[in-house]
Amino acid sequence: MTMVASSLRLALLGTVVAALLAGVDAVTRGQILANEQRGLVRVFVDVTGDGRLAKLTGPLTPPLTVCTAAGTPLYAVYGHTARGYAGVIQLLLAVDAAGKVAGVRAISHRETAGIGDVIDGGKSDWIRSFDGLTAASLSAGAVDVVSGASVTTRAVIDGVRDALIDAASAPSQGCSNVLDD
């Protein structure tokens, strides 16, 4: 077989493969987007501990201001990036209307399994010790560093404090998401 004939066959194969992939993409795209949205909503329910957020609609990229149907702010949700022991820790924190922490979760991190993953809400309750705190109480040392994972937990404590300070100084926004009754 000549080089040209081989190339043509390869090109034909590539075209068929591309067409098939476009088909699979078209079939699965809607379902995948819905799954990703549902995954985000689950994270918001987990971080606030508030089942009402299961009905959350609208844009889901933080910062969010979640309000009741009457327009009363319930939670402000922020993302914050902290630098841990093994790279970036993505934090998500929810602040209630009184300015207190409703919940914090490390939504992605690469901290050492079995040691630094104490910050993982699914593996330890440590991250729940932030609930109900403020920037001032954090600065006063309300949450203890975990021995053995001091770099990781210190990064999370400082990250939450910084996020709270940023949130307090940011201009208040209108409701980005309204919960239906």
Partner: protein, 184 residues
């Protein structure tokens, strides 16, 4: 029929892709922190291995011989991407646990090795039997390593960490090789 069973035994034990041929160890070591993760990757690898090898066997007379590697990669890429997208759509939680490694099945050398050694030379039914038995052998390796690491990890967290993967995989390979040393 008995040859299929023999082949299955070979793939499960002596020629096991992971312990016998030492192929595909990267996803094997990385993902087997728990049985759930191992099962997810086992299913993904199995589907990609079978579909890609059967397809390669079906087009073996069409694919030009001296550019067969790009042709194989196209087919394997198609199968791996399709399986990844389907997992994302219909088994999203499982996909999230093994996302990177599901995509990396495209570069799993078990698949390419069998495409090159078996699928491109054999008729479709031979390629099907070979890829099914090989896929089951690889799945078995994943599940045994995943189960061992999860169980040992309960008492000894090191087993769930990357060094634990190397230690336990090494011990399993040693265990497999021990009875064969006598007749070597």
């Amino acid at each position: 029929m008995s040859s299929t069973i023999d082949e299955l035994k070979m793939s499960a034990w002596r020629d096991n892709p992971a312990w016998g041929q030492l192929l595909g160890l990267c996803p094997l070591l990385a993902v087997t922190t728990s049985v759930t993760n191992a099962t997810g990757l086992a299913i993904a690898s199995f589907c990609v291995l079978v579909t890609s090898n059967v397809t390669i066997s079906a087009i073996r007379r069409f694919a030009p011989d001296h550019v067969r590697l790009p042709a194989f990669m196209l087919v394997i890429g198609l199968c791996a991407t399709t399986v990844t997208l389907l997992m994302q759509a219909f088994a999203f939680e499982l996909y999230e646990r093994i996302a990177l490694y599901a995509q990396l099945t495209v570069a799993n050398c078990v698949i390419l090795a069998h495409a090159e050694r078996v699928a491109r030379r054999q008729a479709i039914h031979r390629a099907l039997i070979d890829s099914v038995t090989t896929g089951l052998g690889f799945a078995l390796a994943l599940l045994v390593l995943g189960a061992t690491r999860e169980l040992v990890g309960l008492g000894l967290p090191l087993a769930a960490l990357p060094p634990g993967a190397f230690l336990i995989a090494g011990l399993l390979i040693a265990l497999k090789n021990a009875p064969w040393r006598d007749d070597a």
